[in-house]
Amino acid sequence: AQKVTQAQTEISVVEKEDVTLDCVYETRDTTYYLFWYKQPPSGELVFLIRRNSFDEQNEISGRYSWNFQKSTSSFNFTITASQVVDSAVYFCALSLPGTYKYIFGTGTRLKVLA
């Protein structure tokens, strides 16, 4: 069975600090996809990134970066120089190819204080 763990329930940082959101996953499959979604206070889920299991290259997109390490089954998300607008709940998720089922983590609530 697959599982996604986001151990950090809530994190508070001061604006301009860097923050890393942890995601640990479990699956016996060798091919899988990992995702991060952002849910701001308005409620909609915004897709941030998709990574497949064969691509361990780290990715950077502006102030966002993702560190995928198969050796530790982790897919961590770092926000550099955080801003108040980054305040949201962030979900990590896992899915298997050929299926439509996503396994979501419990989410990490990030509060960025001005």
Binding site: F35, G43, E44, L45, F47, R50, Y100, G105, T106
Partner: protein
């Protein structure tokens, strides 16, 4: 990315009543998904709606409680029947991008049952 519109965005309902949530997608899709997010919780898949066939429900969800319609390839409805306070949640409609697999979500319908 698909544009997904949900109505209502929020509602306050009385115990014992039913509410129908509508989901409109700006392109034709084979499968539409309905998720529930209880307060402070992660997302749970309720059912998958295919056009022209009965919806497929996940464990713990039944058609009598959550009837779903899928009259065409761009529209679906989810009804929450005989509501109780435990049904207070955000209900999210989503579709999956065919070639890359990421889910796109509507804005969600925030229901409060008194």
């Amino acid at each position: 990315s698909a544009v997904i519109s949900q109505k209502p965005s929020r509602d306050i309902c009385q115990r014992g009543t039913s509410l129908t949530i509508q989901c409109q997608v700006d392109s034709q899709v084979t499968m539409m998904f309905w998720y529930r997010q209880q307060p402070g919780q992660s997302l749970t898949l309720i059912a998958t709606a295919n056009q022209g066939s009965e919806a497929t429900y996940e464990s713990g969800f039944v058609i009598d409680k959550f009837p779903i319609s899928r009259p065409n390839l761009t529209f679906s409805t989810l009804t929450v029947s005989n509501m109780s306070p435990e049904d207070s949640s955000i209900y999210l409609c989503s579709v999956q991008r065919q070639n890359t697999g990421e889910l796109f979500f509507g804005e969600g319908s925030r229901l409060t049952v008194l």
